[in-house]
């Protein structure tokens, strides 16, 4: 079986500005990001025949296709579980194109999370399960749910807030190099971090991602076609989704081992189909809605052993020149929080050699979606 390995490539990326408030609506932002990605690829909208996005995306395929003038679509899919779906949008398109169901795919995410409502404030639409087991007791927000895992993580492995600070700092330092990042001109210090207001102890303000308006998109075609595109192809080397047995998503408290989450499941599949190993990854874009997701993901994707994710961040390991430069556009913590789509585009920029915090000679990149929810991941290579 031929499989997905290097069968497709990302040949176009596009994005809007990122801000706490953008005047245009989500649909307009989606159109702008998609058209920018197609322009980057040098592909006309009427050639697009496949789409993929998140179930939480509010601009549906019909609206987008009519607005920007797509051709006849023969494949369209949406992936669930919020930020866990980011990389799966690319994975679904890669699978569709590799198996001949479509030829030009566009993945996108448009969101006004900066100026729009906070989802957790809407108590009317919460699912009865598991919210009945958590929300009456004041476990209300995603940050509370992840902080519960984070407290246990710190307790069980002896990791510290300094380890979480290392994550926040690496992302902020990269954002300080990226003019498009929300936090471009706002440096972070250890003192700022250690004295910041709590959001949900043990997590403070700087352990939380931004709230951003913005949209991004990318274009995927077969590797054969990619060779004729305007930009150097960035190949989808391996792709995986992960929903572990007995996993519960966010409030994963009801199995043997809550600290090994979906990253472990996705990673097993990802590496099984790859020609290289974690030691060969030049740069990583790891989903960072909250800082503790980074040590958990570092363990899950095999960069260190279980319980060593905190220590891994020491000695500048996540900085440029370190063992594993992380979230080089600033990530969700400091560039923009658009459900992780900016991590995909930043991975492409690194492998094109055009990042604002370029890792010299980067030829392999791991991109991950949200840990702590049913997730997905990509290995990209030049």
């Amino acid at each position: 079986m031929a499989g997905l390995k290097d069968a497709t490539a990302i040949v176009g990326i596009g994005q809007t500005a990122f801000a706490k408030h953008l005047p245009e609506d989500e649909r307009t932002l989606a159109c702008r990001a998609v058209l920018a990605a197609l322009d980057d690829a040098g592909i006309s909208p009427d050639e697009v025949d496949a789409l993929a996005s998140y179930t939480m995306e509010e601009t549906d395929e019909v609206e987008l296709a009519k607005a920007v003038g797509f051709g006849d679509l023969t494949f369209f899919s949406k992936v669930g579980y919020g930020g866990g779906g980011s990389c799966a949008t690319v994975a679904h398109l890669a699978a569709a194109i590799a198996t001949g169901q479509a030829t030009v795919g566009v993945a996108w995410r448009s969101r006004k999370r900066g100026s729009g409502p906070r989802p957790w404030k809407n108590t009317a639409v919460q699912l009865p399960t598991p919210a009945q087991w958590t929300r009456p007791f004041g476990l209300l927000r995603p940050v509370d749910e992840i902080a519960l895992l984070a407290r246990r993580y710190l307790h069980e492995y002896g990791a510290t807030r300094d380890h979480l600070f290392n994550v926040a700092l690496a992302c902020r330092n990269r954002a300080n190099q990226n003019p498009a990042a929300i936090m471009y001109d706002r440096p972070l210090t250890r003192e700022m971090y250690m004295t910041a207001r709590w959001i949900s102890e043990p997590l403070c303000l700087f352990d939380n991602c931004l709230e951003t308006d913005g949209a991004l998109a990318c274009v995927i075609v077969s590797s054969e076609r990619a060779r004729d595109c305007r930009r150097a192809p960035v190949y989808v080397h391996s792709a995986a989704q992960g929903l572990p047995a007995q996993h519960h998503g966010m409030v994963n408290y009801w199995n043997d081992d809550p600290l090994t989450g979906p990253a472990w499941t996705a990673a097993r599949h990802l590496w099984k189909h790859a020609d290289f190993t974690p030691q060969d990854v030049d740069v990583a874009q790891i989903y960072d809605a909250f800082t503790p997701l980074i040590p958990l993901s570092l363990e899950g994707y095999g960069f260190c052993a279980r319980g060593e994710g905190g220590a891994f961040t020491e000695g500048g390991a996540l900085e440029i020149g370190g063992r594993l430069p992380l979230n080089t556009g600033g990530g969700g913590l400091s560039e923009a929080y658009v459900h992780g789509f900016n991590l995909i585009n930043e991975g492409v920029k690194q492998l094109r050699g055009t990042s604002t915090a370029q890792v010299p000679g980067a030829s392999t990149c791991l991109v991950t979606a949200g840990e702590g929810v049913p997730t997905s991941a990509l290995l990209l290579r030049t």
């Binding site: 009865p128 399960t129 919210a131 007791f137 476990l139 209300l140 709590w198 809550p258």
Partner: protein, 139 residues
Amino acid sequence: MLEPLVDTDGAPFWQYAAQGELRVQTCADCGEPRFPPRPCCPHCQSFASEWRPVSGRGRIWSYVVPHPPLLPDYAERAPYNVILVELADAPRIRLVGNLVREAGAPLDSLDPDRVRVGARVQVVFDPATGLPQWILERS
């Protein structure tokens, strides 16, 4: 404060709690407890289940102390604790709750500094709401 939005599978838990009993759904065929409640057993696929009483003792597996922004009723009580209790009788079942001074006390009734991972706790029930709460077990 939010009340549990109860579904069909979860309803018995809240009915027993309102009577002052902590019970967990257990497979009637293989005896495995499961949580949250759901239609069939992931071990033996049986649809037969019963609600088995548990001792109500457990240990704090983890906890958080939320601060605003929160829903208004909770912001008024913040900072408060939310604990996750690993049941002594069924360690894979970890219940979210609040550590309080005594049954019926509000979720900010205990100094957050008194909450510790590993502390032994005992279930009590809020006489007003019927919801389970937790108090420190006397050593």
